[in-house]
Amino acid sequence: MSDILIVALLFSAVRLATPLLLAALGGLFSERSGIINIALEGLLLAGAFTAATVTHYTGKPWVGLAAAILAGALVALLHGIACIQFKADQVVSGTAINILFLGVPALLSGALFASTGATPQLPREQLIPNLPIAIAFLLVPVTWYVLNRTPFGLRLRAVGENPEAADTAGVKVSRVRYAAVMISGALAAIGGAYLSIGQSSLFARNMSAGRGFIALAALIFGKWRPVQTMLACLLFGFAEALSIQMQGVSQIPVQFIQIVPYVLTIVVLAGFIGHSRAPRALGVPYQEKR
């Protein structure tokens, strides 16, 4: 393989890793606070749709991005209310949001633009192909810093590991969890915005195509830590880049490369290579003492 091809492959890997990384970092905030977030797929779609629609109407991609962040936080708030206020099963609530936001954006874009669930094509100058990549990779050290060096990060980890102790120490468990879940939605929505107004130039029905779940896999593969999660996203992005590059060229069927992230995740979860330990209070609703 020539050098140019390899460089192109690496660039493509970084681009493909970007939405995964944003969604995975989002998931990291939520899950380190103790709230399972399998709604990343729905959050990506909500972000992608909002970004494309608002950019279409305003002509300004940064307004679209801001709107996507807001939309992502609001959708995540829905998950938060179900899980924190109503103590719903977090996996079930996440599944509900995934189904709901497979439907809502498609329904709305169908109605707004008389289409089969897609938004109109945006002109090239209204796209932001690089900004989300920069945001994604800058967020890795930022997330590390927030998590490990700030009072908020300490509280976040505390409510995810031992909410009783955090509560006794005066931490408002619910408030921290709400904040974490909303950050999670905001970040995942940036990933979604990248899909619609970065990588491509419109929102299409189900355009996330399972990336929310690959992000979840990367988060587990990265042991719920920012840097490792980034490396996992890059690995999975590389696998995707490779499978695109090899389409029709190589003897290896693309399906075998596509399943690499999923197989690796199972292997890691089963403890065959290293062990990935979840935050201790993950998935357990907490009732604050008054």
Partner: protein, 351 residues
């Protein structure tokens, strides 16, 4: 009285979801009354509406049962989608490779293939959980993607008819076909794909009920789901129950292959499932993880799938995605019901 209470919350959740849907319909500029009349009305016409409603309900009964059985053991099987894909492909594979066998042998063999393939794909996360502590939610999500990719690979590279533009296998042998109900019901045309898999689904509901509530194995599964530690203390090998429940769950999901391959398309068709595995979660939750509830919820969602197609065509703005909105909202409301039953904390590891 108890029955009334059991019915009250699911009905309230459905009603609430229709209200949310109505708001969305109004927002996009259509009339909720017209849309809902179309949605429900088109599912109740004879013979097409009712025929297709029952046809769409059939896979949902299987996946709903699958999710419910796992739930009874305290497990959330998000993998019904992958289990039904693998099972459908293997069913088609047996139907293709053993096409020469007589129907009396081939049909049961294909049934067995569906059950075994689905059961195996379900047992894998069961073993991973019981033996290695890997959480079933994540492993089943991952196994979904692996199943779809594998079936797609074998279809594309080994069983696709040459020159076919669609990603599908060659047809199965005619001896593997199971009859459509049109053959037995007067006035019911055979073009409607409702087939023997539907009565089979109803019988399966009865069998699952008897298994869970009338056998020792069923009791042990439910005891494990109710309180794993207490069950273990009482001498139940909970690890084995987890594997058994997941295998059974997978086998039930796999039965979708009987409806899809042997009764409808007579081949494996890539990405045929419109999320039956995920709708199965909604079905199980709404049906309170009980076989009778599963039938009722499947009929509702089957009707929505049928009516959705008409909403898509005959309304100005609303698309069949409305059905997804209703489905998602129903699950959300049913999930939030936990607050009214007191806290229930499922210990989750590795999500």
């Amino acid at each position: 009285m108890k029955l009334l209470r059991e019915l009250l919350f699911p009905l309230a959740a459905v009603a609430a979801a229709f209200v949310v849907g109505a708001v969305l319909i109004l927002a996009v500029g259509d009339s909720p009354v017209t849309t809902y009349t179309l949605l429900i009305g088109s599912a109740l016409t004879w013979p097409d509406g009712i025929g297709y409603t029952l046809f769409y309900a059939t896979p949902l009964i299987f996946t709903g049962l699958a999710v419910a059985v796992a739930f009874r053991c305290g497990l959330l099987n998000i993998g019904a989608e992958g289990q039904l894909y693998i099972a459908s492909f293997v069913t088609a594979w047996v139907g293709i490779t053993c096409a020469g066998l007589p129907a009396l042998v081939l049909v049961p063999l294909c049934f067995l293939a569906a059950l075994a393939a689905g059961g195996f794909w379900g047992a894998v996360p069961g073993v991973l959980k019981a033996r290695f502590g890997a959480h079933e939610v994540i492993t089943t999500i991952m196994l979904n993607f692996i199943a779809i990719a594998l079936a797609s690979y074998f279809t594309q590279y080994h069983y696709k008819p040459p020159g076919d533009a669609l990603l599908e296998t060659v047809p199965i042998g005619e001896n593997a076909h199971i009859a459509r109900l049109g053959r037995f019901v007067p006035g019911f045309p055979e073009r409607i794909p409702l087939n023997l898999a539907f009565p089979l689904a109803l019988v399966t509901c009865l069998l699952v009920y008897l298994f869970l509530w009338r056998t020792r194995w069923g009791y042990q599964i439910r005891a494990t789901g109710a309180n794993a530690e207490a069950a273990q203390y009482g001498g139940i090998a909970t690890g084995r129950q987890i594997v058994l429940a997941m295998a059974l769950s997978g086998a039930l999901a796999g039965m979708v292959g009987i409806n899809e391959v042997l009764g409808y398309r007579y081949r494996y068709y890539d990405s045929f499932s419109s999320g039956y595995g995920f709708t199965g979660i909604a079905v199980a939750l709404l049906g309170r993880n009980h076989p009778v509830g599963v039938i009722l919820a499947s009929l509702l969602f089957g009707a929505l799938l049928r009516g959705g197609l008409f909403v898509d065509i005959f309304t100005e703005h609303v698309s069949k995605d409305l059905v997804l909105v209703l489905q998602g909202t129903i699950i959300l409301f049913v999930a939030a019901e936990a607050a009214f039953r007191g806290p229930f904390g499922r210990r989750i590891k590795g999500v």
